[in-house]
Amino acid sequence: MSHLDLLTFARGSALNWALVLFAAGVVLRLFEILGLGRRPDLAKPRPDSPGSGWRTIVMRSVPKADTLKRDAVTYVSGYTFHIGLLVSIFFFAPHIEFFRSQSGFGWPGLPSALVDALAVIAMVALGVSLAHRITSPVKRMLSDISDYVAWAMTLLPLLTGYLAYHHLLLEYTMMLALHLFSIELLLVLLPFTKLFHAFSLFISRWYNGDISARKGVAS
């Protein structure tokens, strides 16, 4: 199989299967969560609450001053990584072209040099996160193998994308195929790892906000 054949496979049936498994995984996991339901709250909620589930979905992204001071590394590396990752995925011109070719929808991109810099910053932030996970007694205690697998699965698409864009290490077609495979691996495993927080955090924040809001507190 030539590099081009590999790329064709990565762009074709491999991607289709990955997307199908990703969609099925997400639906299954959402069903596993929401299917459990919750009992209706019979306590009369406060009518004039400053909080709500929707408010917490948005506001929980704003760190509290005290905890920001206590653990700036987690906040700063977390923010930096997420911004870099999201910009790389959704505002890199070739990605937008790819989305347009698949779905017919597109949007304006950001300058490639900027996206490139943000991707590097995201990878650095991931490195800092890993170092912090290994050195912080709390994080190390909480971590198991799945945390390190999730970390590697997240790094690989960024790294292969960067290497492909800069024509480094391997022949471009081959690196692009590896880039696609790494994304497909991420798509297939995302619903079954902690990376599913990309979906479930909206549910968690909503519940958290709703539970507090009923009592008159904006969480």
């Binding site: 299954l28 996991r29 596993e32 969560i33 929401l34 299917g35 459990l36 339901g37 919750r38 009992r39 709250d41 019979l42 306590a43 009369k44 406060r46 609450s49 917490t56 979905i57 929980r60 992204s61 760190p63 509290k64 005290d66 905890t67 206590r70 653990d71 987690t74 977390g78 912080s136 007694p137 709390v138 994080k139 190390r140 205690m141 909480l142 971590s143 945390d147 079954f192 902690k194 599913f196 927080h197 479930s200 955090l201 549910i203 968690s204 924040r205 909503w206 519940y207 958290n208 906000g209 539970i211 507090s212 009923r214 009592k215 008159g216 507190v217 904006a218 969480s219």
Partner: protein, 434 residues
């Protein structure tokens, strides 16, 4: 599998709902919750990280309610939760968590960790892994009627003292009164000034109220230990009395968890909404103040600060009321850092103060409160929870700090404008204790 472990695991399975499944699914193991927990910040021990306290419950969720976890269980690839493990987790779930809710405000993905600990305690209690002292307190609450063993004659004695001191009749079993007043054991035994203050304030406001002989105790160790059936039985006594006396509102006293038990958990424990309102005493006092029925004169000149009890502020939504009331009687009120919904716990909530095994850890965790108080430079600390009050007093004494702790109701009564011509309402059917 022993019978008790089986009961515990079944209770775990029963409490796991969509919020818990979403919380466990969302956790990225960032450890931020540790930074919100006074047991971690004051000891530096990683094991006190809030989400870690839930590990056995998380595994039961994973094994029972996820496809992959279920497959793993089937193939023998997962580790079942054992009795020994629950025994190891007991101090984490009870001694080092006051259910204060601070971690739930911090978690970046929005996990309400406190909600989960409260639910996890159901399985811990069912499996026989609740602290001995808390089991004993709950047993006393069920058999005697109060976790501290207080019986009605002790309340009667206090009523007599209050009546002698104030010359005001304390109404008992008065059908048709607007308010049913509850107390905590701590107030009955240690802080009789609460009932005295309340009698005077209510006389001045001209509102009708009553005590009930069979439902004077507001505390509920059932919700602290995690035994919903017992918690329901304890709440049920108050509901029966409130309905029998046809009151419009039940007043939860200066006690944090009693408010949570009655106001937020109560209807769910009983399986039906209440036909009466439940208010914390601070809410009632604030309403009376707004209506011009609570008149005060003069202001306390001492610099003072206010400790927000977690279950009243963060988990109860009563934040502005104490501040409005304090502004009437305090000339030099100073807020602590992180005051309001982000306040630090006294360290004794959620049953921790009732658990003697946790005493030294609790005093260690008190360091954060100590530094908060010291930063304000006050020697007078106001609060609105008798349990916080006793825990604060112990912590202050332990640290040789000369700070006086006063209940807010009591402080208000000190500055009350008393008009002796105000008649005490006396609906038909009532009787006083004299």
């Amino acid at each position: 599998m022993s019978a008790t472990l089986e009961k515990g695991i079944n209770a775990f399975k029963e409490v796991i709902d969509a919020p818990i499944a979403s919380f466990f699914s969302s956790c990225v193991r960032c450890g931020m919750c540790a930074e919100a927990c006074l047991f971690y910040t004051e000891t530096g021990e990683a094991k006190y990280t809030p989400i870690h306290k839930l590990e056995p419950l998380r595994r039961v969720w994973q094994q029972e309610y996820t496809l992959l976890g279920g497959l793993g269980k089937l193939l023998g690839l997962t580790r079942p939760v054992t009795d020994a493990e629950l025994a190891e987790w007991e101090p984490l779930v009870y001694d080092s968590c006051t259910l204060c809710g601070r971690c739930s405000m911090i978690c970046p993905v929005g996990n309400d960790i406190t909600y989960m600990i409260r639910k996890m305690r159901e399985g811990m209690a069912a499996s026989g892994h609740a602290p001995q002292d808390m089991v004993a307190a709950t047993t006393r609450a069920i058999t005697i009627g109060s976790p501290m063993g207080v019986k009605w004659p002790a309340v009667q004695a206090q009523i007599k003292h209050v009546q002698a001191d104030t010359g005001i009749e304390v109404p008992v079993e008065r059908e048709g009164a607007d308010y049913l007043v509850l107390m905590s054991s701590m107030e009955i035994i240690n802080f009789p000034e609460y009932l005295s203050a309340l009698s005077r304030i209510f006389k001045q406001a001209g509102i009708s109220w009553t005590l009930a002989q069979d439902a004077f105790e507001a505390t509920n160790s059932g919700i602290q230990i995690g035994a919903s059936d017992l918690a329901g039985e304890i709440v049920g006594r108050i509901v029966v009395a409130a309905e029998r006396l046809k009151v419009k509102c039940v007043i939860s006293p200066e006690c944090g968890h009693a408010y949570t038990a009655l106001r937020w958990e109560g209807p769910n424990l009983m399986g039906r909404p209440f036909g009466f309102e439940v208010k914390h005493i601070l809410e009632v006092l604030d309403e009376l103040h707004k209506a011009g029925k609570l008149k005060t004169k003069g202001k306390d000149q001492r610099p003072l600060t206010y400790h927000d009890p977690c279950q009243i502020a963060r988990r109860g939504g009563v934040v502005e009321q104490p501040r409005r009331l304090l502004s009437e009687v305090a000339a030099d009120f100073r807020e602590m850092s992180d005051a309001g919904v982000m306040n630090w716990c006294c360290g004794g909530g959620g049953g921790v103060s009732a658990n003697s095994r946790a005493d030294s850890l609790r005093l260690q965790a008190f360091k954060v409160k100590k530094s908060q108080i010291e930063a304000t430079g006050v020697q007078t600390l106001i609060t609105a929870c008798a349990n916080c009050r006793i825990v604060l007093e112990e912590g202050l004494e332990h640290n040789h700090m000369k700070v006086e702790v006063i209940g807010l109701t009591e402080l208000l009564a000190e500055y009350l404008v008393e008009d002796n011509s105000t008649p005490v309402p006396s609906p038909a059917g009532g009787r006083g204790l004299g």
